[in-house]
């Protein structure tokens, strides 16, 4: 699905010279076409995913009525239970329920979450901003960190810095984010006492930027760190490839300073695949967000996934699955748009 990169030297040169004047408009049209095609393709995927979630819900032996009543189900009369079942729409065939749900979504009614006992729209409005804050900070940290560290490793290739970074990167790839999170809590919160353990604010204090920032540092750092190894190793690898390219050799031959060669000549070539990689890592970012939010009791949508799953709360679970899928599709679309805009050699036919 990714945008195709044409890397043949002559072609690229030809495209560049030929499309000098009307390039701006052609490029805009290409990007618009890409966006429209992807949006059209996203519809069947989202439909398929939401239908699959509903089929799974229908096949589940777990009766949501037990979750609704809890222990009180033993005291409830059969008539009451039947009435609640009807109220919750549990006694109708799955296709009917799916159709109702779908038309509800299209008319702006997202249904009611059984585990949060609130409309799904309210749950999203309350929790989504916190998740966005956490994931954006985490991703930004990971990107900056891996650009710096990856460049250092590639620049000092073969030296002890490079070997240390590569070894640490491979080791970190194998450590699950929740282990990193727990060890970070043990070290920074309990051992050193620098940062709070979990939550959004200290008990009893009101919601303010300072409080949130203090509580954000550790989760965002852990989320960023859990994504970093892949990015670092990738930056290193593509920089190493860039160092062998002719224009870098040319820059060296002209006697440009090392810093200029790395930052202005080698790094830009290495950045294009990096942008694509970031887009492709969104699923892992979502996975990381679920685990990190859960460990740090961060009140976002990702930890709501776990709550909803434990209670078989399918209205909420379906929306959250759709949301994550949409985020993944959007991530790869943005990465491809960025690739088209950054490099005139990329053709927008994905």
């Amino acid at each position: 699905m990714g945008a195709v990169v044409e890397r043949r030297g002559l072609d690229a040169a030809e495209v560049r010279t030929r499309s000098r004047a009307p390039a701006g408009r052609a490029r805009t049209r290409a990007v618009a076409g890409l966006v429209v095609r992807r949006l059209v393709l996203a519809v069947p995927v989202l439909l398929l995913v939401s239908f699959a979630v509903f089929l799974l819900a229908a096949a589940s032996p777990f009766d949501p009525i037990h979750q609704y009543y809890g222990v009180q189900i033993f005291d409830a009369s059969a008539a009451d239970v039947a009435r609640v079942r009807q109220q919750l729409d549990l006694d109708r065939p799955v296709l009917v329920r799916f159709w109702d749900w779908l038309s509800g979504i299209l008319s702006g009614d997202l249904g009611t979450s059984r585990s949060m006992r609130a409309p799904v729209a309210d749950v999203l409005a309350r929790r989504l901003p916190w998740t966005l804050l956490l994931t954006c900070c985490g991703l930004a940290l990971a990107v900056v960190f891996s650009l710096v560290i990856g460049t250092v490793a590639a620049w000092r290739q073969g030296g002890w810095t490079d070997r240390l970074i590569t070894a640490l990167g491979h080791a970190l790839e194998g450590i699950p984010p929740f282990v990193v999170a727990l060890l970070a809590i043990a070290l920074f919160s309990l051992g050193l006492g620098w940062l709070p353990v979990a939550g959004l604010t200290d008990a009893g204090s009101s919601l303010g930027p300072g409080q949130v920032l203090e509580h954000l540092v550790l989760p965002a750092a852990v989320l960023g760190l859990s994504q970093a190894p892949w990015l670092v190793l990738h930056v290193r690898q593509s920089l190493l490839a860039a160092f062998t390219e002719d224009h870098v050799t040319g820059a060296r031959a002209r006697g440009l300073r090392e810093r200029v060669v790395v930052a202005r000549h080698a790094l830009p070539t290495a950045l294009l695949p990096f942008v694509t990689l970031i887009g492709a890592r969104i699923p892992e970012l979502v996975t990381g967000a679920v685990l990190v939010e859960e460990v740090f009791s961060w009140p976002g949508v990702a930890s709501a996934v776990v709550t909803a799953a434990k209670a078989a709360d399918y209205p909420l679970l379906a929306i959250l699955t759709l949301l994550a899928t949409a985020a993944v599709l959007l991530g790869s679309l943005l990465a491809d748009v960025a690739a088209v805009l950054l490099d005139p050699r990329v053709s927008a036919d994905g």
């Binding site: 995927v45 699950p176 309990l190 353990v197 490839a241 050799t249 996975t287 859960e294």
Partner: protein, 307 residues
């Protein structure tokens, strides 16, 4: 994704800069690189063998695994308990190895499930072509578009707290990558002369698939299976850690880490550190072996470890 060209990804090519004065440690494929790669493979195999043997034997051999002893809760690592004890006073060494056995078993079974599923879908897709291929590939795209852990959580919510749910949730979410690999392999094989010869001799679609294509994709499928194992272990531990995976009485690494969450807040870092260490050692050695295998089967491209 943009693939690097094979020759620019290998670092063996003589480079005008720096390489003239300094040998590239660990990345060259000269004699030193080969020795280093061999050393790494031997280490990985040894670590994996030792861990597997320990996981199989220690829980059986130790006198009373999982005995709760409230006299000895949260003891730090020491002579009697090499890994310390957990919040219920159980010896963590024995419990971690028992957990490793459960986690590995679940991971291997779910890897087999998803490899079989992926091979069937990929072979069918690649061999049929046409609308079957397009339909199956759209399905693969859809499965890949949902974050695996999330889809796994949805599936686990079906049959909460059973081993089957965990196996299905990992198996049903990871077949898509295998299907892609197998499909591209089949597509490559379809144009080989011996397949053409069989088709012109009047062989049917299924005969060709069974006798020419399937045997040829076994190595690729097996390699993707081995690459999947560490990932499957991660998913099992993540699900169990979230309280959605294996039933709590079954000691898996994920369940132990989940218990360790409270332990960490009480200062007992070893409840998390040692089981996690075992987990990381296992997954790293498995992926090290897989990377060596891939380097051997696809020698033109040096691989980075991927989980």
């Amino acid at each position: 994704m943009v693939e690097l060209e094979p020759d620019s990804a290998t670092v063996a090519r003589p480079r005008p800069w720096r390489s003239a004065t300094r040998a590239r440690a660990g990345s060259g494929r000269g004699a030193a690189g080969a020795v280093r790669a061999r050393l790494r493979l031997v280490t990985a195999v040894t670590v994996l063998c030792v861990l597997t043997l320990a996981a199989l034997s220690v829980p059986v051999l130790s006198a009373a695994p999982g005995t709760v002893d409230y006299q000895a809760i949260r003891l730090p690592p020491g002579p009697g308990h090499p890994f310390g004890t957990d919040t219920s006073g159980r010896d963590l060494f024995v419990r971690s190895l028992a957990g490793l056995r459960v986690s590995l078993l679940v991971a291997v079974v779910s890897t087999v499930v998803s490899t079989v599923l992926g091979t069937v879908v990929g072979a069918l897709s690649g061999a049929s072509g046409g609308w079957v291929d397009r339909l199956l590939m759209r399905l693969v795209d859809a499965v890949n578009a949902v974050p695996h852990l999330l889809l796994g959580i949805v599936i686990v919510a079906l049959y909460q707290g059973t081993v089957l749910a965990v196996v299905l949730s990992i198996g049903l979410t990871h077949w898509a990558t295998v299907a892609r690999v197998v499909r591209s392999e089949v597509l490559g094989l379809r144009n080989r002369p011996y397949v053409d010869a069989a088709v012109s001799a009047g062989a049917g679609r299924w005969w060709v698939l069974r006798n020419h294509l399937l045997p040829a994709i076994v190595p690729q499928a097996a390699l993707s299976a081995v690459l999947l194992v560490p990932h499957a272990v991660f998913h099992e531990t993540a699900l169990s850690f979230l309280g959605l995976g294996l039933p709590p009485h079954l000691a898996s690494i994920g369940n132990i880490l989940s218990d360790g969450r409270e332990g960490v807040l009480l200062g007992a870092w070893w409840i998390v550190a040692f089981p996690a260490g075992l987990l990381v050692a296992t997954t790293l050695s498995v992926s090290g072996i897989a990377a060596a295998w891939r380097d051997r089967t696809i020698p033109t491209r040096r691989s980075e470890l991927t989980l």
